[in-house]
C-alpha cells in the first residue's frame, strides 16, 4: 500500500541448494508481513543457511538463555548454591503470564528450580529473581568476557512491562499499535524496543552461543550440560518446534515474545546424530497479539533448514 522500499534479505548459505532454502524461507516470511533474521547451522559440519543474520534485535525472553548460562557458570564455579532458597512475593515480583509471575501468594523456590521455571515456562518473576542474584551488568560483562560480542544484556525482564505500560497505560492494543508504528518510523516510544537501550542479539550471535553450549566450548561442561537439559523442558512448541515434533527428534529451545516480536532459538538433535542450531528473530507488521500463521511459518522454515542441513 505504502511506498516503503522493498526489503531484500541478505542471504548466507554454503551452496546453491542451501541458498534456495534461505530464499524460500525469506519469501514465506515476507508474504506474511514479517521482517526478521534467520540462521540455521549444522553444529558438526558448520554448514549454514539464513538471512540478515547480523541484524541486532531486542531479545525479549530469549535473553533468559544467556542469563541462565551465567547463573549456571556461577553455580559450576561454586559461587552460588543451586539449593539456595529464594522467596518470590507477588507484591513485588515481576509481571508475567506464567510461573511465579502469575502466582498470587509468596513462594520459596531454590535457585536451580528458578532456572527451570525461567526456561520451561518463560517465568519473568523467576528470571528477575535470578537477576537479583547475578546483576544485569555482571551478566553483560561475563558474556563479553566469553566473546559473545553480539549479545547485550542491559535490563531486567520487568523493564519491558514497565516501558510498555508506561507508554500505553496497560492498553495492550495501544502498545502494539505504538510498536508497529514506531518500527515504520524508526523512532521508539517503548524503550525496550529501541536497539540503543534493549537487550539485544543477532541470529548469528545466538547461534554462536548455542554452538558453544552444545559443544562445551563456553563456561564449564557442568553448566552447559545443565543448560541443554533445561532448554529441553520448554513447554512452548508452536514456533520452531512445530514441524520438528517426532520421537526421533529432540528440540531444546527458548521462545521470546513481546508485542510484535516473535523469536525462538534452539537446537534440534536427531537420533541419527544430526545437530542443527537455529535462531529465528521476527518483528511483525501486524496488530495482532496471536499470529499462529507466523509461528507456523517459523516452524516450517526450521524444518526446511534442518532437512537441508542434516547429513
Amino acid at each position: 500500500m505504502s511506498a516503503e522500499p522493498v526489503h531484500r534479505p541478505a542471504c548466507v548459505a554454503g551452496d546453491g541448494a542451501l541458498l534456495d532454502v534461505a530464499e524460500a524461507v525469506a519469501a514465506d516470511w515476507a508474504a506474511l508481513g514479517v521482517r526478521g533474521s534467520f540462521l540455521a547451522r549444522n553444529l558438526d559440519s558448520g554448514e549454514q543457511l539464513g538471512f540478515d543474520v547480523d541484524e541486532a534485535m531486542p531479545l525479549a525472553s530469549v535473553v533468559k538463555v544467556p542469563l541462565a548460562l551465567v547463573v549456571l557458570d556461577r553455580i559450576a564455579a561454586g559461587e552460588l548454591d543451586p539449593a539456595r532458597p529464594v522467596t518470590v512475593d507477588p507484591a513485588t515480583s515481576s509481571i508475567g503470564p506464567t510461573g511465579l509471575a502469575a502466582f498470587r501468594h509468596p513462594a520459596t523456590v531454590a535457585v536451580g528450580d528458578l532456572l527451570l521455571l525461567m526456561l520451561s515456562v518463560s517465568d519473568n518473576a523467576a528470571a528477575d529473581a535470578l537477576f537479583d542474584l547475578v546483576p544485569v551488568a555482571e551478566v553483560d560483562t561475563r558474556l563479553r568476557a566469553w566473546g559473545c560480542a553480539g549479545i547485550r544484556v542491559r535490563h531486567r525482564m520487568n523493564h519491558m512491562y514497565e516501558c510498555a505500560a508506561g507508554a500505553a497505560g496497560n492498553d495492550f492494543s495501544l502498545a502494539l499499535e505504538l510498536a508497529v508504528r514506531d518500527e515504520r518510523a524508526g523512532r521508539h516510544t517503548i524503550e525496550t524496543l529501541d536497539p540503543a537501550h534493549a537487550n539485544l542479539g543477532s541470529a548469528s550471535a545466538l547461534v554462536d552461543l548455542l554452538q558453544h553450549v552444545w559443544t562445551d566450548e563456553i563456561s564449564q561442561p557442568l553448566a552447559t550440560a545443565e543448560l541443554r537439559r533445561l532448554m529441553g523442558f520448554q513447554v512452548f512448541t508452536q514456533r520452531l518446534a512445530s514441524e520438528l515434533r517426532a520421537d526421533t527428534l529432540r528440540w531444546s529451545g527458548k521462545t521470546g515474545t513481546f508485542l510484535h516480536l516473535r523469536h525462538e532459538i534452539g537446537v534440534v538433535e536427531a537420533e541419527s546424530g544430526d545437530r542443527v542450531a537455529l535462531a529465528a528473530l521476527t518483528r511483525a507488521d501486524r496488530r495482532a497479539g496471536l499470529a499462529p500463521d507466523i509461528d507456523l511459518a517459523m516452524g516450517i522454515g526450521a524444518r526446511r533448514a534442518f532437512e537441508a542441513l542434516r547429513g
Binding site: 508475567g96 519473568n124 496497560n170 512452548f236 515474545t257 501486524r286
Partner: protein, 332 residues
C-alpha cells in the same frame, strides 16, 4: 423610492377611482397609499389625480403616464415569474456512494419532484462527496462519518458466489434457513490434515470502505481475528471485484442491497462496529448552510442500504477478559 410599489399605488387608484378601494386592493393603509402617490407626483413634477371633487379623477398627466406605468409593472411581474421558474428548474446535485441501487435513487428523485425540487444524482467516492459540498458543486451528500457520530448506519457483510456455484459455509444458514452472521475469525485458514494449507478467499473492499478510519478499523479487526496479512485488500473497480466474487475467487465487503442486486449471496458481519456510518449533509455555502429535509435523509439512507427504522444502539465489542498487565510483559 420603491418605484414598483409607488407605481402599483398609482395604477390601482386609477382602476378603482378611489384611494380607499385602491388601498384595500393592495392590502395597505390608505394614508400610506396617499403618501406614495404624493411622492410619485413630486417625482414626476405634476399631479396625477384631481382631488377637488367628491370622486377622484385622473389628470391628463395621469392618463398619459398610465400605459407606461402598466408596462413597467407587467415586465416586473414577468421578471419575477422567470426567476421563480428558473429556481424550480435548477438541478440540485446530490453526492451518493458509488454502489447505490438505481431503483432506490429513482425513489429519491421522484420524491423530490413531488416537492417541486429537481435532484441530480452524482456517484462519487467518499472524499469527493465532502469536497463537493465544500466547493458548492453538490447541494447535498451522503458523507462518511466515524461510527460514534453517524446518524445513518449501513450494515456491512460479505458477498460470495451464489450457493449453487460455490457455497461459503458461514454464509449459508444452518438451521431452517436462518441467516448466520460471519465472524472474522471463522475466515482464518484451516489447518488441513492433508498436505498444504487450503487457499483462503481474499476479502475485497470497495472504494466506499477505503476511508482511512474505516479501513484502519477493518484491518485491525482482521489482524486481531488472526487473519493473515493482506487477506483484506482494496478491490479495483467494483465490476471486476464482483466478477471475481461471483466466480468464487473472493469475498466482497459490501452492503446487502448491492450483493442482492448482482445475484451474490450475502451474510452480515457479526461485528456491527464494522459498518458504514453516514450523515446526509447540505452544502456549507453562502449565505447559509443548506438544511437537509428529513424525507431526503430517510430516502438517501435507504438508497445507501440502511435498514428501515432507527438504528439499533451500537454494541461495541468488549475486550476479551484476561490479565491486562501480563499481556504487556515479555512472554514465552
Amino acid at each position: 423610492m420603491d418605484l414598483l410599489a409607488h407605481l402599483e399605488a398609482y395604477v390601482a387608484t386609477v382602476d378603482e377611482s378611489s384611494f380607499s378601494r385602491a388601498a384595500d386592493r393592495l392590502g395597505i393603509a390608505q394614508p400610506l397609499l396617499s403618501r406614495r402617490i404624493k411622492t410619485l407626483e413630486a417625482h414626476f413634477g405634476g399631479l396625477l389625480f384631481d382631488r377637488s371633487r367628491r370622486q377622484v379623477t385622473t389628470t391628463e398627466l395621469g392618463l398619459l403616464l398610465l400605459p407606461y406605468a402598466q408596462d413597467v409593472l407587467d415586465r416586473a411581474q414577468r421578471l419575477g415569474q422567470v426567476a421563480r421558474s428558473a429556481r424550480r428548474a435548477q438541478v440540485r446535485a446530490v453526492g451518493v456512494p458509488m454502489d447505490c441501487a438505481p431503483v432506490a435513487l429513482a425513489r429519491v428523485i421522484r420524491a423530490a419532484t413531488e416537492r417541486g425540487i429537481t435532484l441530480g444524482m452524482r456517484e462519487l467516492p467518499p472524499a469527493e462527496r465532502v469536497s463537493g459540498l465544500a466547493d458548492g458543486s453538490l447541494t447535498y451528500a451522503l458523507v462518511r462519518v466515524p461510527r460514534e457520530q453517524a446518524g445513518v448506519r449501513v450494515p456491512l457483510g460479505l458477498a460470495s458466489a451464489a450457493p449453487s456455484e460455490a457455497p461459503e459455509p458461514a454464509a449459508v444458514g444452518a438451521s431452517g434457513g436462518r441467516r448466520r452472521a460471519i465472524h472474522l475469525e471463522d475466515l482464518r485458514p484451516r489447518r488441513s490434515r492433508h498436505g498444504e494449507l487450503p487457499a483462503v478467499l481474499p476479502v475485497l473492499t470497495l472504494t466506499e470502505d477505503q476511508v482511512p478510519y474505516a479501513h484502519d478499523r477493518l484491518v485491525r479487526a482482521a489482524a486481531r481475528a488472526g487473519l493473515p496479512e493482506g487477506l483484506v485488500r482494496p478491490a479495483g473497480p467494483a465490476a471486476t471485484a464482483l466478477a471475481e466474487t461471483l466466480a468464487g475467487g473472493a469475498l466482497l465487503l459490501c452492503a446487502e442491497p448491492f450483493a442482492r442486486q448482482h445475484g451474490a449471496s450475502w451474510a452480515p458481519l457479526a461485528d456491527t462496529a464494522l459498518h458504514r456510518g453516514y450523515d446526509v449533509q447540505g452544502a456549507r455555502g453562502r449565505p447559509a448552510a443548506v438544511d437537509v429535509p428529513d424525507w431526503l435523509t430517510a430516502l438517501l439512507a435507504a438508497a445507501a442500504g440502511a435498514p428501515a427504522g432507527a438504528p439499533d444502539t451500537l454494541r461495541l465489542p468488549g475486550p476479551v477478559a484476561e490479565d491486562a498487565s501480563s499481556r504487556l510483559a515479555a512472554r514465552g
